[in-house]
Every structure is written in structure tokens, then in C-alpha cells.
Symmetry: C2
Subunit: 414 residues, 2 copies
Amino acid sequence: MNAEIIAIGSELLTPFRQDTNSLFLTRRLNDLGVEVTCKTIVGDSLEDIRDVTRQALWRAGIVILTGGLGPTEDDLTREAVAAALGVELKRDPDLIARLYARFAARQVTMPPNNERQADLVGNATVLPNPAGTAPGQWIETVFEGHPRVVILLPGPPWELESLFESECFERLRKQAPPVFRGTRKLRVAMVPESACDARIAPIYKQYPDIQTTILANAGDIELHLRATAGSLEAAQARADELAGKLEDELDDCLYSNTGEPLEQIVGYFLQMRSATLATAESCTGGLLAQRITSVSGSSRYFLGGAVTYHNELKTLFAGVPPLMIQAHGAVSKEVAAAMAEGIRHDCNATIGVAITGIAGPNGGTPEKPVGLVYHALHDGIRTEVIEKKFPGDRARIRQWATQQALDMIRRHLM
Amino acid sequence: MNAEIIAIGSELLTPFRQDTNSLFLTRRLNDLGVEVTCKTIVGDSLEDIRDVTRQALWRAGIVILTGGLGPTEDDLTREAVAAALGVELKRDPDLIARLYARFAARQVTMPPNNERQADLVGNATVLPNPAGTAPGQWIETVFEGHPRVVILLPGPPWELESLFESECFERLRKQAPPVFRGTRKLRVAMVPESACDARIAPIYKQYPDIQTTILANAGDIELHLRATAGSLEAAQARADELAGKLEDELDDCLYSNTGEPLEQIVGYFLQMRSATLATAESCTGGLLAQRITSVSGSSRYFLGGAVTYHNELKTLFAGVPPLMIQAHGAVSKEVAAAMAEGIRHDCNATIGVAITGIAGPNGGTPEKPVGLVYHALHDGIRTEVIEKKFPGDRARIRQWATQQALDMIRRHLM
């Protein structure tokens, strides 16, 4: 069974905004075994909405329209869908009463144009919207001889998502022939995308029935597996089988087989070992600490650290001897190691981690080019230093560098 | 004149990827006075691409298709557009020769399927693609009695953008009736979206000819103004006039009238005053330092700072007396002030800034709920503290808090 999504709103046709509801809807439709075969974004024009709705009805069993359900003159989805289906709008007295009650409860007089939100497309079923005034609508119809489901949903994501979960998902399950999906999400650190694909393609190509999607970011790869079978157990077993072979191949480059980000995995490992962490950052300027503390509960293992942007602070906060900086330069193996040792000592942490490098776009030299980064880890006994030359712009180099540092911690604790 | 954009690729119909080329194309088309009235995302299906292309040709003078120009069997844009227009594909011998030369230059034998990239839709003009093997195509045609321009562009953004700039923009300018646009981008800190709109709506509504778009993030609002007139000067003057009135109304809440982010503006101010900055962060965990150092050249004014996540580090790095933390709690006016004073003193900076708060989702109490944040600034003489209660989740609260801290620095230096 297939679906089309139509996002309505002239603001979605500017350079500034993008439809994101369809990502959520696609994920949930896929969970039901429904494929999204086309997405359309159209402005607040009655004719345009009507026309693209008719075209979608020709092609798809399920047509979901998002947005354009509010009370203003720009909100034309109801009228346009009624025109596309050749049915009348009916103003629902119960809905009007509910709208007035909703405003009265907030001690506000309802502007009369809000009554438009009580207009139902033909014999539509009302989908109550606890998070807003515009209800959704569920329409089962026959279009040119084909059974069709048309769903109208409000545009604000928090309204759309809760309404879809509470009112649409189970109803759609009854419409869609039972298809069972098994999914897995694996994550890999510090392997280039092409190298990763070269290693795993021979494996996943033996599973042509499983959809494998590879998403690559700076030093981070997500592998999404989606298997289909006659039962949930069979589908999940199939996805698990491929996941298992990929895990064997990727070995310790794989850091998660359930999808968590690296900073979360590092947090688990630190807690498991009852270890604490302190960081000293130069070129990443706090990004490493920020990623670690983006995890709720990170105060259980992250003590804190220093952003030693200027050389004096490398000495003040991490005890790096000024003569060492003079001799080797701030971006050097030696200084990275001293920063890790110093911050660990000062903070009294189990592990100290440090980053120093050249994020660019300026400050590079032939000997020390933009992208050169040293990462160091000290555990009280040994110091490990990794030198890397990262590609990309300032933001990407900083992201790579923090990923490398997190991966060092993970491997150290493994 | 209006345009439609069709993005092609089954990966754009998954929950993981989104068409972003259309944002770039919309911005450049708008610059030419061309409005985008519909966007369609469709998979690698000959019939679907053909059908949505025909529908777009009914409605729009310019139809741009992105993606599906590669050498594989999934790349069907050429075939589908030829079918939609009812013309033949012609394999261009010059293009074949260029493809072979390109591979030969890299000392690679060209797989024969690459010849498909030399197929031209009817009498299409070739748009050379220096960044990739798939050239673009420019087709001027008459569809059902209407003159139409159809443009085929490669999917990878860096190929698409450079090819559009070098081959399409000037060609389109000749097609589009001359329309002149003046634009302005204003940015506002720490004003809620509804409050901002209440202040400026009475002003921008007096300029119905100017498109005003409001984009709100945590503590940050962007106002995009776009005026249209018979000459570039008149259009820019019109946009400037509205921008001037909005600047008067927003007064010192407006931090940029050219669109730079707040961390960049703070950098300008610090450099102008020859001032240096040090930061001490608790709940934002390095996000403030990371934002400041995301600006290239920030080492000229940012010395560094501390992420004092644990209370001991508040004492170690920022000299906060342990008894003060015991008496008032780590999230308090007093500790925020002491952190700002201490980090300024330790780093020998002109200005010290500190943040301490509860980012959640755990750790809140009735007296000190999630979202409570103290921000402090010390300049060697006076200490200023701002208490705020921010809405949203952990990430949003942290973003709000760093925005507040940056705005304190800006206002202090103003």
C-alpha cells in the first residue's frame, strides 16, 4: 500500500522553511508497511491544493494533507479537499460548541472566523486535537473507483505528532494489509564512508530484501536496516541476522547496535567503570564538553574541564609548561599530552582528555596545516596521543576532532 | 513568472533524508523575481517522474528537476522528461567523447553505462558540470501552447549550486521579466516571538508590498524583508525604509541589521573595545565557549574558560568559596556572580561571564525548577546577574541560556 503527503503553506515555499512533518509521518507509515511514493509542497491556493490532491488521489491509497486547518482566510485545506472529492463542507454543531467552550475556558471571546474550523469535508470523522483548536479529519471515500483514505492534520509538529499517534496510527493499521517490519540501527565511529561501504557492501548485498541506508556525518556513520516479512518475529530475526554479520565485520569500529550517539555510549562506559572524566580543549573550544553534557545525567561522570584557548590558560588550567609550548608549539603531540595529564590531575579525574589543533580557516602553515589535530588521553599511568588531519571547514573539523576524542575514551574503557 | 521544483530520488522519500537543494534554488529564483509555487519529491520511477513533470508543465513557466542524472539504472530523469515532452533522447557524440576523456584523465576505464549521461532530451542545451560527470540540460519548449523552460540539474548540492550559478542564473534572467528585489535581514535577541510580533506587526502591515518572514529560535528571532519594485534602487530603498522603522521600534533588542549571528556581533564589540573574555559554565557545559569559538578569529578576544560542572571545579577554576555553594546552592545568584568574578580574575580577562542553572530534565525542585538559570557578568568593577526561567527541553534551555549570556556581553559593551 502506498501513501502521498501534501504539505500546505506558502511559508514552506520560501528559502527559509522546510516541511519536516513528512519525515515523522514517513517513519510511522513505514512502520505500518506503507511506503511514501510522493511528497508535494504547495502554497495557500485553493486551486493548487485541489489539483495536487486530485493527482495524489489517482496514485495513492492514502493521502495525508498537513497544515491549512487554522481559522484564517489563508487556511484553505478543507475547502480544497472538498472540491477535489466533489463533496460539500458541513459545519458541525458539536465542533462549534467545543470551540466556544475551549475559548470560554480560557476566558477569551472566540473570534467568529474560528467557526470555520468546524467545517467537515463530507462525512469526515473528527480527529480531536487536544493541543490546538483545529481538529484533524479522517475521510474514507471512493475516488474514480478506488478506495481511498484522506487524512487532514494540523501543521504545527507537536499537534500533528500527538494527533497522528492517538487517532491515526491504529486506524491506518486496520486499512493497511498486515506487513511486519524489523529494524536495526548501527553506529560506527571514525571510519570514512567509502571505506565503511567497501567493507559492508558485500554483506548487505546478500540481503536484497533488506533496505540498508547509510547516513554519514563527520566521523560518524549510521546504518539503518529495515527488513520485511510475514511476521514481526521473522522480520526482526532477518534484520538481526544482517546486523549480526555487520557487527562481526565492523568489530570495534561499531560503537552502538541500538542507535545511541557516541557521547551517550561514552557515558555508559564511564558509569560502568565508575570512572570520571575531565577535558581540556583548545581548537574545539568547548564542543567536546558540550557534547558530553548534552546527555542528561552526565554530571554522574563528567567533572568539567577547561577551554584553554589562549596559551596562558593551557598553563593556568592544565599545567602545561610555557617552555614546552615555546619549544613544540601549542598544536603538538607534547602539548596535547601535557594538557590531558594536567587536566586529569587538577580535576582529580580518572581520565583526562585533551584536544589541540587548527580548525581554520586561518592559522595553518605548511608544517601544521588547517585540519591537523592532536588528541590525548591520560589515565594516571599511560598517555595516548592520536594525530589526525581532518577534512572540511571549521565546523566539520571541530566535529571530527570531538568524535575522535570520544572514540578514544570509548576504546580506552572497552 | 512562477517555477516548480521536482526533486528526484527514492532516498528523499525515507525518514532520514530531505531535499535541501530546493532552498538554494528558491532563494536564487526569488532573486530573479520568480516565485516557487510547488515542490514535488518523487522516487526513481519513470512513470511517477513523467507524470509529475507533466503536471508541473501545466502550471509553471519554469520546471527544474534535480537528481537522477547519474549513470545507473535508477537514474531516469532524462527518459522521464523526454516522455513527458513527447521527444526522443539523442546520445550526443561530443558528450560521450568528453566523458571518456574525463575518465582517461584519471586513468580509469569508463564503465559503458556512463554513456547514458550523454543522452540529451530532444534539442537540449548541455550545461557543463565541472564538479561531476553528469551534465545539466536546458530545454526551451512549448507545452500545450505555453512556452516553457525545463532545467535538469545534478542532485549533489555542490554540483547543483555551482552549475546553477555558472549556467542557469543569467539564462533565467533573460527569460524572466525584469523584477528587482531589495532584501534585509534583521536579528533580535531575547524577545519572545509573540511579543516581537505584537511590536512590529503594526509597522510591517503598513508595507503589504514587502514580504516579511519571522523565524524564531531559542532567544533569537530573524526578520527577513523582501521588497519588489521597478528598479533595484527603489526596491532596496523600500526594504531599507521598513528596516529602519523596525530598528527604531526594536531599539536595543535588535542586535544585527545585516544578519550576523549574536556570537559574531559579540566578537565585533569585543574587538572594537580591545576587550578580552573568559567564561565559566555549569549547566551549559561548554556550549557558550563553543558558540563563541565557532567564529573564525575568536582567539583575538576569547581567552578561554572553564566548564565547572562539578562544584569542586567551581572552586578550583573560578575560586567560588565552598561555603558559598553550601549556603546558597550551586544554582544561585551568589555563585553565578562569584564564578564570573573568579574566572575573570584567574584568566586576567576584561570581562568574565558565568552561567549556572538547571537544564533538566532531572534535578529540578519546587524552589529551583528545571529551566532556572543565573547569568553573571563581571567587568572588574561591577557584577550584573540576570535570573531567567527558560521553557523547553534540555537542549533548548541550554541554547536560551547561552543566548542570554551573549546578549549580556553585547549590552555591556554597547
